[in-house]
């Protein structure tokens, strides 16, 4: 039932230690232990799920923690079925509640009142997008934890603690990388990419100019100039940028393939015009 949200980095140690979040950690643990409902609010990638993960580490082993990402369950989520045959006093951690239906709202309220659920922690990226019923709202009350972005010192410390390999990455480079990253999550991804690129180029020492090479933004935010091979026009196919001249790809989903039909979705494959 628990979705995996383990970081998947090649060059960064996985770590469940939360740097710079002492107050927040204490609040989460307190609200869970004392049987409250808590709402964690914070923008994308700021560390909401990491806090939930911290809570799981603290309360696991008692067989009573359920983590639900409403985003992945969608309409299929049914709290009653989820709690069937489970002991009293469950701890519910609910990620992405903007998708939580009204009937699940009511069920959570009911099971909470009857003590089948001991405590609930909700997370959201946007307070306005929540459709809590008034009953849930009144039970949460003041228990809203707003996550602010970590200060730069903490962010750099997290990267330092987790970087492995013998790369030499100066504070200046990390600073630059941090400036180019929108949030902590993106920053860590970029750190990982930087190491990857150093490894590929068989370099040990990172320079500031390397930063520009690895900084990734959302594909859709990015203005793609043209094909790196032929400088021809790029087409967005299913979220991937493809070149009409050089790539054989599926027009529908962007999968690269030399077959006549797409192995992923079955649509006809457009052959590269150069070939």
């Amino acid at each position: 039932m628990v979705t995996q949200f383990e970081d998947n980095f090649e060059y960064l140690e996985t770590s469940s230690e939360l740097v710079g979040r002492d107050v927040e950690k204490e609040e989460v643990i307190y609200r869970i232990a004392s049987g409250n409902m808590l709402l964690i609010e914070g923008s994308k990638g700021i560390g909401k799920t990491s806090l939930l993960k911290y809570a799981i580490d603290n309360f696991k082993g008692r067989g009573k923690v359920v983590y639900i990402d409403v985003g992945t369950f969608g309409k299929r989520l049914d709290i009653t079925r989820l709690l069937k045959n489970r002991p009293k006093g469950m701890i519910l951690l609910i990620d992405n509640i903007q998708y939580l239906s009204e009937s699940n709202n009511k069920k959570i309220k009911y099971f909470y009142d009857q003590d089948y659920i001991k405590s609930v922690v909700f997370t959201t990226g946007d307070l306005k997008a929540i459709n809590f019923t008034d009953a849930i709202r009144s039970r949460i009350g003041r228990n809203v934890l707003k996550l602010k972005a970590l200060n730069k010192g903490d962010v750099l410390k997290i990267a330092r603690d987790r970087l492995r390999g013998n790369f030499e990455i100066s504070d200046e480079v990390l600073n630059e990388l941090y400036k180019e990253s929108k949030n902590l999550k993106r920053f860590l991804v970029n750190c990982d990419l930087l190491c990857k690129s150093l490894d590929r180029e068989e370099k040990i020492k990172a320079e500031v100019k390397d930063v520009a090479k690895v900084v990734v933004d959302n594909v859709f935010d990015n203005v793609v100039e043209g094909c790196l091979e032929c400088d021809g026009e790029l087409v967005n196919a299913g979220g991937h940028w493809r070149c009409k001249n050089c790539d054989s790809y599926c027009d529908a989903c962007g999968t690269l393939s030399d077959e006549d039909f797409c192995p992923a979705c079955g649509a006809e494959i457009l052959e590269a015009e150069d070939e």
Binding site: E26, I29, Y30, A33, S34, G35, N36, N58, D78, T80, S103, K106, K107, K109, Y110, Y112, D113, Q114, D115, D134, A135, S138, R139, G141, R142, N143
Partner: protein
């Protein structure tokens, strides 16, 4: 894991829990209303109770259940149903059969003369509402208690006539009851004095908010290292 403030003060769990199930035998405020409700149910009839969020609707129902359990009425004669449970419509026959215990289920006999408590009735559909009256007229239900957070629910005409004057609205507690409620939970703990309880109560008299406020004030006071709650703590949290 660290000890919580309430552990340090000698409580096993949060004494200010807002769950109605946690302290089901306690009820403060609305005593005269509840006495009238119970009297009415004993006489048989249909009763409607409404109250705002956190006024203690479910707690009142628990109190009623407790009251009838302790009398000769018999706990087997009570059905509690929360309309938030999420089933599409209510299967009264199943409720009546299940109320008969093992033999009831075995023979599929529907119990008669039952008392039914319908919590969160604002979520009931019109069909279920109409059926309540039928079952009542047929003698399956001797008394029906509706509990709702809204007081302007549309009910079928004949049901409305049956309810008649039996509408009860739950209100906030008075000062004395507020202090009693907290004392019942924490005993004569010096950490939180009566004057401070009243100060917190003055900020918000809604039972649920009141409990949550007491919890937060005590926590802040304890974590600041104080010997007892004083005005600065109240202001800091509820200011």
């Amino acid at each position: 894991m660290n000890k919580m403030w309430y552990n340090e003060l000698g409580f096993h769990s949060n004494p200010f829990s807002i769950k109605p199930a946690a302290f089901h035998n306690e009820l403060f405020g609305n005593t005269s209303v509840i006495a009238r409700i119970i009297k009415k149910i004993k006489e048989r009839g249909i009763v409607f109770i409404s109250g705002d969020f956190g006024a203690g609707k479910t707690t009142v129902l628990k109190k009623i259940i407790g009251e009838f359990r302790s009398e000769d009425f018999g706990s087997k004669k009570i059905i509690y149903y929360n309309c938030n449970q999420g089933e599409v419509s209510i299967d009264y026959d199943k409720l009546l059969v299940n109320a008969g215990g093992f033999f009831g289920r075995l023979f599929g006999v529907r119990q008669k003369e039952m008392m039914i408590l319908l919590d969160e009735m604002q979520d009931m559909n019109g069909k279920d509402l109409a059926k309540v009256k039928e079952y009542y007229d047929d003698g399956f239900f001797r008394s029906v208690v509706f509990v709702s957070k809204l007081d302007d629910i549309e009910v079928p005409k004949d049901l409305d006539d049956e309810i008649g004057e039996n509408i009860f609205v739950l209100g906030d507690m008075n000062n004395r009851e507020a202090v009693l409620m907290i004392r019942k939970r924490i005993g004569d703990l010096k950490f939180l004095g009566d004057d401070m309880i009243l100060k917190i109560f003055k900020k918000d008299a809604n039972s649920r908010s009141f409990l949550k406020n007491c919890e937060d004030v005590c926590r802040v006071a304890f974590e600041s290292g104080a010997d007892s709650v004083d005005e600065t703590h109240v202001e800091k949290v509820l200011g």
